[in-house]
């Protein structure tokens, strides 16, 4: 890292362009199913293959999802917007034009002028949403030796593009924006929003600016495939530009690709001049009309959003804000919590386990909540603890194995012989044995040194290989010693 006179007074200006694959059943302009992992070119038709004579017809649900998104982002929804053709040649775009929505004076796209509140380091800032519009996705290009292979299954999948104002001021804030946006969109039910699967993609624009001065030259950064990559890439690019400016060099307006392995952005070999896409209104489609009545119906059907849900957890379940926030970070997590509570109606306990051990496991393994055994498994485990069949300590081990293997908690407990001993008769024997073997600590207890009880409990636990019910052991020890 250069230690030159980097002008730290310069502020970083970042704007994000996010593409989101909508969770519709069928494609944007045809009835082919939207599905993942199908064998290549098995989900196509004349329309999404761009065969001669085929025509697009708009998917109403995609528009509804666009309206939902506009509502949750506080955008103004255009009663009438048009589609346009973006003309360029590439093998993954069969018509050699993409149907999208362009924005120019007097012709706004589906929605404009929203806001997303983003928190970093406890400070909340409002980030402007410049526009939301609809378009179709391209097919997938696979590069092989001496040739490229194209699969058109994805061609025509509904995409929504969300563009932020250049209001973001740091790589960290950009990541927070993306995280929050993703949660909000998942909550709205419009997308699964997984960057690793490509249902959420992000490009960024970054420039430096002297406070109060004009915008500097910006670069476009592509190929960031995870939240972490977004933050790393922008941090690198910011530093790279600062270094250039410090050396008195100018930033070149260009597109740069993020290389995850090398940790750098590099200039892509694309043409420097902006490509002329020769936009014009799509003559095969009529203007999209969204009237006030439709907007109201969509508004009424909106799922509960993260903030409302968080507040509800705090109020109804008495959960602390920190825990409630973690539980509502994603819709999947919140639904996992609620379903577990439905099966095991002790919200605070459930919350503690999810926010604690379950979250720890997810962080360590990099898995998502949807990828581990579901609420009924956790509820079963918690019920075992509650009945006294399993001690809290053993439970942690069982949880880990349960999450990892998917086997039922009860099965694991039986197999490992972890059933907690709560039978008093049996425990009494162990207690009396511990008392007999540890006269010193026993005297300490009788002398009032409470810590010795803990030691003795530990001895009993050791004898029982962790299976003794610690609360009962504690009580029995005190009784027995007291009776001595």
């Amino acid at each position: 890292m250069s230690t030159g006179r980097a002008p730290t007074s310069y502020e970083t200006v970042i704007g994000l362009e996010v593409h989101v694959q909508l969770s519709t059943a069928s494609k944007m302009f045809c009835g082919c199913a939207v599905a993942f992992g199908a064998p290549p070119n098995t989900l196509t038709c004349p329309v999404c293959l761009g065969l001669p004579g085929a025509l697009p017809v708009l998917n109403r649900r995609a528009v509804e999802f666009g309206v939902r998104t506009a509502l949750v982002l506080g955008c103004a929804i255009q009663p009438e917007s048009r589609f346009h053709r973006k003309n360029y040649y590439y093998p993954d775009i069969p018509k050699n034009y993409q149907i999208s929505q362009y924005q120019y004076t007097g012709h706004p796209p589906l929605a404009t002028g929203g806001v997303l509140v983003v928190e970093t380091d406890g400070e909340a800032r409002q980030i402007g949403i410049r526009r939301v519009h609809l378009e179709e996705d391209t097919g997938k290009l696979v590069h092989a030796d001496g040739r490229s292979l194209v699969d058109y299954n994805r061609s025509g999948t509904p995409l929504m593009e969300i563009v932020s104002d250049p209001d973001l001021r740091s790589a960290e804030e950009a990541r927070a924006f993306l995280t929050r946006l993703r949660a909000v969109l998942q909550y709205a039910g419009v997308t699964t929003g997984r960057m690793e699967e490509g249902t959420l993609r992000c490009d960024a624009n970054l420039s430096l600016r002297e406070p109060g001065g004009p915008h500097g030259t910006r670069t476009e950064i592509k190929n960031m495939n995870s939240l972490r990559a977004v933050e790393r890439a922008l941090r690198f690019e910011e530093a790279r530009q600062r270094e250039l400016v410090a050396r008195g060099e100018s930033v070149v307006q260009e597109t740069r690709h993020w290389d995850e392995d090398r940790g750098i952005t590099f200039s892509s070999r694309e043409k420097e001049e902006a490509q002329d896409y020769r936009y014009f209104p799509e003559p095969d489609l009529l203007p999209v009309r969204v009237d006030a009545a439709w907007v109201e119906r969509v508004r009424a059907d909106l799922p509960e959003l993260p903030d409302a849900r968080r507040r509800r957890y705090q109020e109804a379940y008495g959960l602390p804000e920190h825990d409630a926030t973690l539980l509502t970070e994603t819709r999947a997590m919140a639904e996992f919590f609620e379903e577990t509570v439905r099966l095991f109606p002790h919200p605070k306990t459930v919350s503690n386990w999810i926010v604690g051990d379950v979250a720890a496991y997810l962080n360590a393994t990099g898995l998502e909540i949807e990828q581990v055994p579901g609420p009924s498994a956790l509820a079963e485990l918690l019920a075992l603890i509650d009945r006294g069949t399993l001690s809290g300590r053993s439970a942690k081990e069982v949880l880990e194995e349960m999450l990892r293997t998917g086997r039922a908690a009860g099965e694991i407990v039986r197999e490992r012989g972890l059933v907690q001993i709560s039978d008093e008769a049996e425990l009494v024997r162990l207690v009396e044995a511990a008392i007999a073997e540890n006269p010193g600590p026993v005297s300490d207890v009788r002398a009032g040194k409470d810590r010795a009880v803990t030691f003795l409990v530990g001895q009993v636990m050791k004898k029982s290989r962790g299976r003794a019910n610690p609360e009962i052991v504690n009580r029995l020890l005190r009784d027995r010693i007291g009776a001595l």
């Binding site: 065969l51 001669p52 004579g53 025509l55 697009p56 017809v57 069969p94 936009y279 014009f280 003559p283």
Partner: protein, 499 residues
Amino acid sequence: MMSAHSVSPADWPAWELRARYRRGEVRPTEVVRAVLERIAAVEPRIHAYLYLDADAALGEAARWDAIAGRDDAPPLAGVPVALKDNLCTRGVPTTAGSRILDGFRPPYDATVVVRLRDAGAVVLGKTNCDEFAMGSSTENSGFGPTRNPWDPTRVPGGSSGGSAAAVAAGEATLALGSDTGGSIREPGAFCGVVGLKPTYGRVSRYGLIAFASSLDQIGPFARDVRDAALLLRQIAGRDPADATSADVEVPDYAALLTGRVDGLRLGVVREFLGEGVDPGVASAIRAAIRTLEGLGAQRVDVSLPHAPYALPAYYLVAPAEASSNLARYAGVLCGRRTARDGDLIGMYARTRDEGFGAEVKRRIMLGTYALSAGYYDAFYLRAQRVRELIRREFEDALNTVDVLVGPVAPTPAFPLGERVEDPLQMYLADVFTVPINLAGLPGVSVPCGFAGALPVGLQIVGRAFDEATVLNVAYALEQAIGTDVCRPPIVAETRSPHP
């Protein structure tokens, strides 16, 4: 009313075929056989067809033999039809007159094709056309021109020259064409047959290989107006697969043909009868107007002062949309590919350079220019505003009259090769038809007389979705002058005994 000279079933109109089927006088296979014989006799000179499957057509006809005569038979059962080769036909070669689509067999049928098959029509084959429907003479076809049955040294018109010639020569009873700037009406006029361009949105474009999306419409060719009405009814109507197809009721057009025009206000467009119109054409048109007046129509002189701006506006809008519609022909998913080792861009460029003809290339260049950054406002956008101006002007005029009339083209059919090297001259053939496409209105060409030995067509233009009135005025004229105008000499020649 029976048609005269009804010696060969190949010359009978569809309505007469239907009547004879019902009376058990003839069967579809006999009719198709007669048409195939006619084709064999005249095709070497006319070249109307690019693809013909005689066995399939006879097989199809056989399937209708038992049914065509029943009362519950579908409206076009057993009627032989030809389809312009820019209409997608499942499993059957479809080239749009271009070498770049040589070998292309669509995996689906155009909606109009489905509707025709459902109506019982027997598809004979695909007819020749200017490449991607761009042209006014069918000389731009990548597979050689079609010749005019009235005079094989002359063009049949274009771009739907094959369909028009086929119907004129009895090589099909009915045919479908497409019209973007005059491509049904002009060949209809040149070949002496009825050709109708419906209101934009009247007929589904799904499966029509696109030229200019906001202008293209599919329409019928027939030897008389009643047939055209029958065919239109079968193909018109909303299609969920075409978002631009209108949800307007489809009347029984044939049933509405009364032939009565008393009190009808006939708008004669001043700008359409000025200089530049061949005297023979002008004379035939004036005679037709007098005939209609004689039937009770009221002549009103109207002016469409912005009509002269239609041609330049059209030659900005249409090529612009075409340049985008034709971008997909690049050797990736269908059609020809010129490979050779090399990069992707090279493949795109070589494939298109070798696959497209000169006129298509000209229009793609023009269209790309009209849309390019910095020129979009001055060209494409401006042209679209001129278009709106013209549309309003037509709308206002049609508030004062019921239909507008004038010539279809300034000249009758011109000789092959005369205009190929002079695109501007070629474009002028569309000067009277193009404004109607820009306005989106229905227009028909109905044979109204001759200029020398060549047919002349009267253009009748109506209000949006008022094909009924347009057809009725055409019908009135036709009934007054008779349908003998529709028999080219080549047909008589085929009936004379061979030496």
